[in-house]
Symmetry: C2
Subunit: 344 residues, 2 copies
Amino acid sequence: MADEVRTGVPRRGPTISDVASRAGVDRAVVSRILNDDPRLRIKPSTRERVLAVVAELGYQPNAAARSLRTARTRTIALLVPDFENPAYGQIIKGAETAATKADSALLTASMELGEESFEHYAKQLGNGRVDGLLLAGGGITGTREEHLDRLGPPWLCVNRTGPGKRRYVVLDDERATELAVSHLLELGHTRVAFLSGPADSDTAERRRLGYIAAMEAANLDPGFVAHGDYTADGGAAGMQQILAAKRRHTAVLVANVASAVGALYAARQAGVHVPDDMSVISIHDLSIAAFLDPPLTTVRMSLSGLGARAVDLLLTRPRNEEIREVLEQPIDLIIRESTAPPRR
Amino acid sequence: MADEVRTGVPRRGPTISDVASRAGVDRAVVSRILNDDPRLRIKPSTRERVLAVVAELGYQPNAAARSLRTARTRTIALLVPDFENPAYGQIIKGAETAATKADSALLTASMELGEESFEHYAKQLGNGRVDGLLLAGGGITGTREEHLDRLGPPWLCVNRTGPGKRRYVVLDDERATELAVSHLLELGHTRVAFLSGPADSDTAERRRLGYIAAMEAANLDPGFVAHGDYTADGGAAGMQQILAAKRRHTAVLVANVASAVGALYAARQAGVHVPDDMSVISIHDLSIAAFLDPPLTTVRMSLSGLGARAVDLLLTRPRNEEIREVLEQPIDLIIRESTAPPRR
DNA sequence: TTGTAAGCGTTATCAT
DNA sequence: ATGATAACGCTTACAA
């Protein structure tokens, strides 16, 4: 088991009893003052006295005792697949802000989904550690849903429509891809390829659907679809496929910025000039996009808004209620220098 | 205060009493079995019976009750300035792995250091919520140290030598910059500029020192020093300063990858070709570096190793012991295409 | 306007 | 080889 390490006595701070006796009142009074009990009628003078003692001692209610008593922890957990992807950074930020507003802490952990790692999360997140669970990114298969349910706390998928598809919030990926495609079409492109995410990712799938819908709406044949894995490496490989495809394309819609970084790299390596030979546009706008070569045209959706909304839903909706929400929010085209009319 | 939201009754799982009665033993027995109490002599048959019930009910010990009793939470917190910076992502990963090994959870939060936000952390991290606190990144000034101490849990600075400088782990930034400079010098450069981080960051300062030491050791005058802020924006601005400086430089050492992204961008904008007109090398190696234009030569240090070491130190060292550790680990030069001999 | 007391689920120290 | 019991610090219904 754990190497029991003694790192000195875990110091405990002053307790509510310390405050009470020092202020000459009962613990109950202190508790109710600190929790703004609306039913409490109390002499202003004693209230002040108590508050003074609280400040003097630097009293902090013990979180463990409190949540043992109330069965609420005021913390929620957010599991992300990859801390190195700045896109998750944005989701985290939004979630954190929302959690803070709701007076809760946000516990973030990365998940590499293996069956055994579920064991681990059970231990870390089970009974009495968190009030709820947010799962960003994929891999929530059927059996895992059961595991999750058995864990106890209510959970919600973020930007994934889990398989049971009962509780999730997603961005409007279809609308985003349609916006991207229409930008390309307005520039005059007709042969547009799509560089997707992992085949089992449903954000990737929704983006692919949006792409196809937009192409067909314009009476155009959808182009080549390459599958990346949402990393720069995968993006580079996907771009190579697209460049090697029989049909020559004049534009590529890339499913996320990390892939786009790789795609631009692969184009450079192949001597294909962006945007003169090939336009590139990406879903999501990260700060790095502006500094790429060339600066990347993107479709901006608020990932932080997504994180925030997820927290709100988790905290306010009853634990078994269905939640199937496609976030309505502004989706903006950020035109930089990676898109241009096709050269004829 | 918080909008009291009722999201249904917080469900509690089975308790240790449920297990005990069902298995026909006392709670104490269950507890000691589950905690591998070495002093426990017990009939294998009853142990198995208990374990079976545990599995059957899916019993999970209640974390709140446990830490109320033991005064240990088995979670530590890591505060980072910016989740969008992949460098912190690496630190987080390392920390998480180490925490998991020590059977603890890692709670990550971002900090924007204002005086009031300390209030917030006091509430979230105070008494009984975490066993310790890791502070990555800067801004821990004197008065804040006191705040932190009053918070209760032991804390440790990661990659920052806080001002009291009593407890920290840092990477060997001086050695890293020396390695970078010597690479440049071996290529034949003599006029090397330094694109630093924020003036008040001590990693930036240590890197600057390493740079100056390495230049002087080679009997060369240190070149222009520009201050960025560890973002691409700041890096671009810094590079502009360097390009505008009176003295012409043939190489720039950049203090981190985010700045380097901006620096490469600014060079492109100015029509300065990297590496023909100007070599660029950066401290830290992030996965994006390989895909920049040109692929960026870097000095690799293990950020995840840093995170892991920080966790270990926090967990094993007595709470008031001084910790001043410069991490000894391999530091490697990753040569890509942004450095070359100066053109004459 | 304030106090009393029960109980949240666990672990540790005794007994037996 | 197992059981009884107190204690951890807090909140809340009820009593005074």
